[in-house]
């Protein structure tokens, strides 16, 4: 018989502390779908995703019912579309549109992989593909796009960084009536991972098996609750408590991942040990930092606590899962975290502090609304700064900023649902035009040469 306190703890975690499996994501290889032209490729892509993913929602719902743990999102990631449309890049939209329809057909909210990997150089077909992103995101609902512009091993492709600044701005302008919502589905990475289950940056790497299940766990509310019980403890004890909590959360994810893979006839890929917030109260990563002892997230001390949190989550999670991957760490999106939104509203957190935080946690500048009149070169410079942090620190960094057309600092935007809402945050007014116009490649750091 089980220890009754353990049983009731699990029930409380789900009922009161928002424990959930954030996403069950099926990675599907589209390499076998390449045909001679865009139309036939699009048809093969649609058929493949519909066939492989047809039971993902049903299976996840049954697992959720059987184990009593909500599975919030069911998603699909695919091979970067720039690869399968290399012979007809101008028509890549047709494949994107087919993927969007397939996502709708199988009942998932997002499908990731309208992506390109250009970290060491942009091929002609990739440049053409990148230019299809704004139109494609403006004319699809569920499709997500990501572009990898740098890596620790290859350096930063500044030509791609320059282009992505323009593409982010165009995407915002083409989705202007929804406050630039298209940019919420567009991530610019450095050191992108091939097995990330989280949107909008998920894609199915070409080194992956044919069909794979990756699971992203969550539970910032559970960690916050555990820390509330030890208000006087020193930081060693705080870190230990986070570790133990992360272990339990991850074990639930591992169970769901292996069972889902079995039922969906796919390989179990990885469990992504992430603390991912939602805009709901009690489901906030920033609230954990505040519980440790900050008056507001964003003040001095934020980076140190986040570093400890991120590390403790990994240590607890690694022990709990047979294979770990993805982004694995604490997410700090602004519009998707209630305490982060409140800090932004009260001027307690700046983009500069968020940038510092990205040095020690997973991912990067995420879901930040900026003024619509921000220049493309400023967006490129933001991307370059983040990519530099990722490159030098051997970690994934990303930029998902939303220049909101017609909005100024102090205005609000609401993206709806899990994407949340937030005030427009200020960016620096001094330009970086000359730097961005130079183009070229920032060479890889010396410590990346490990062979």
């Amino acid at each position: 018989m089980f220890n009754k306190f353990d049983v009731l703890e699990t029930i409380d975690m789900v009922q009161k502390e928002h424990l959930d499996i954030r996403t069950v994501t099926m990675g599907i290889s589209l390499l076998p779908c390449i045909r001679q032209n865009a139309k036939d490729t699009a048809k093969a892509v649609y058929d493949t995703v519909c066939k492989k993913g047809e039971n993902i929602v049903k299976t996840a719902d049954s697992l959720s019912g059987e184990y009593g743990i909500p599975i919030v999102n069911k998603r699909v990631s695919v091979t970067p579309v720039s690869i399968i449309t290399a012979s007809f890049p101008d028509d890549a939209f047709l494949v994107g549109e087919a993927l969007d329809r397939a996502a709708d057909e199988i009942g998932i909210d997002f499908l990731g992989g309208y992506s390109a990997l250009v970290h060491k150089g942009t091929a002609d077909y990739e440049e053409k593909f990148l230019k299809t992103i704004p139109y494609t995101l403006a004319n699809t609902k569920r499709l997500c796009s990501s572009v990898n512009v740098g890596s620790s091993k290859s350096g930063i492709n500044m030509d791609a960084v320059r282009l992505m600044g323009e593409i982010v701005l165009q995407t915002a302008n083409m989705t202007a009536k929804h406050d630039g919502l298209g940019c919420a589905k567009l991530v610019v990475f450095c050191n992108a991972v091939e097995d990330n289950p989280f949107m909008a940056g998920a894609f199915h790497g070409i080194g992956e098996a044919d069909t794979v299940i990756n699971v992203g766990v969550s539970g910032p509310g559970v960690v916050e609750h555990a820390l509330k019980a030890i208000p006087e403890a020193d930081l060693t004890t705080v870190a230990e408590t986070i570790k133990k909590t992360a272990f339990k959360i991850t074990r639930a994810g591992q169970l769901i991942a292996t069972e889902a893979a079995k039922r969906l006839n796919a390989r179990f890929g990885i469990v992504d040990l992430s603390l991912a917030p939602t805009p709901a109260r009690g489901d906030s990563v920033a609230a954990i930092l505040e519980e440790v002892g900050l008056e507001s997230v964003g003040t001095h001390g934020t980076t140190a606590i986040l570093a400890m949190l991120n590390d403790a989550v990994k240590k607890g999670g690694v022990m709990a899962s047979s294979r770990v991957g993805g982004l694995s760490g604490a997410f700090i999106p602004v519009s998707e975290d209630i305490r982060m939104i409140e800090a932004a509203q009260n001027g307690k957190i700046s983009i500069d502090k968020l940038e510092a935080m990205t040095c020690v946690c997973s991912v990067g500048l995420d879901m930040i609304a900026i003024p619509g009149d921000t220049s493309a070169s400023t967006i490129s410079a933001i991307i370059a700064d983040e990519a530099a942090i990722g490159m030098v620190n051997n970690k994934t960094t990303a930029v998902r900023v939303i220049p909101c057309p017609g909005k100024q600092v102090g205005d609000w935007v609401n993206f709806g649902g899990l994407l949340g809402k937030c005030p427009i945050m200020p960016v620096h007014q001094s330009g970086a035009d000359k730097f961005i116009k130079r183009g070229g490649l920032i060479p890889a750091p010396i410590h990346s040469f490990k062979n």
């Binding site: 089980f2 353990d6 009731l8 699990t10 009922q15 049954s62 019912g65 059987e66 009593g68 639930a252």
Partner: protein, 89 residues
């Protein structure tokens, strides 16, 4: 195959009778029961055998939750593996 049923809520008469009848009607066999009352708060945990149930486990879990609502209690039925996974190494 086994599951854990938890029944929590304000204590009142006949909870065990109602829950065990409900489970028996669905071919669920109770193997172990632990029950406590903390003040007015009732908490019961049952380990049950579900190998003979006819439909899907997720459907039975949903029925249990609904039955709980009808008697003013919170009832959860979950596959035992979730507790094994989370609380044992």
């Amino acid at each position: 195959m086994r599951a854990v049923v938890t029944v929590t809520g304000k204590d009142k008469k006949g909870i065990i009778a109602k829950v065990s009848n409900f489970l028996a009607e669905r071919d669920v066999n109770i193997e172990d029961i632990s029950q406590t009352i903390l003040g007015e708060y009732f908490a019961m945990i049952m380990l049950v055998d579900i190998s003979k149930i006819k439909g899907e486990l997720s459907v039975l879990a949903a029925e249990c939750a609904k039955m709980g609502e009808s008697i003013g209690m919170s009832i959860h039925l979950q596959h035992e593996d979730i507790f094994n996974a989370m609380h044992n190494i």
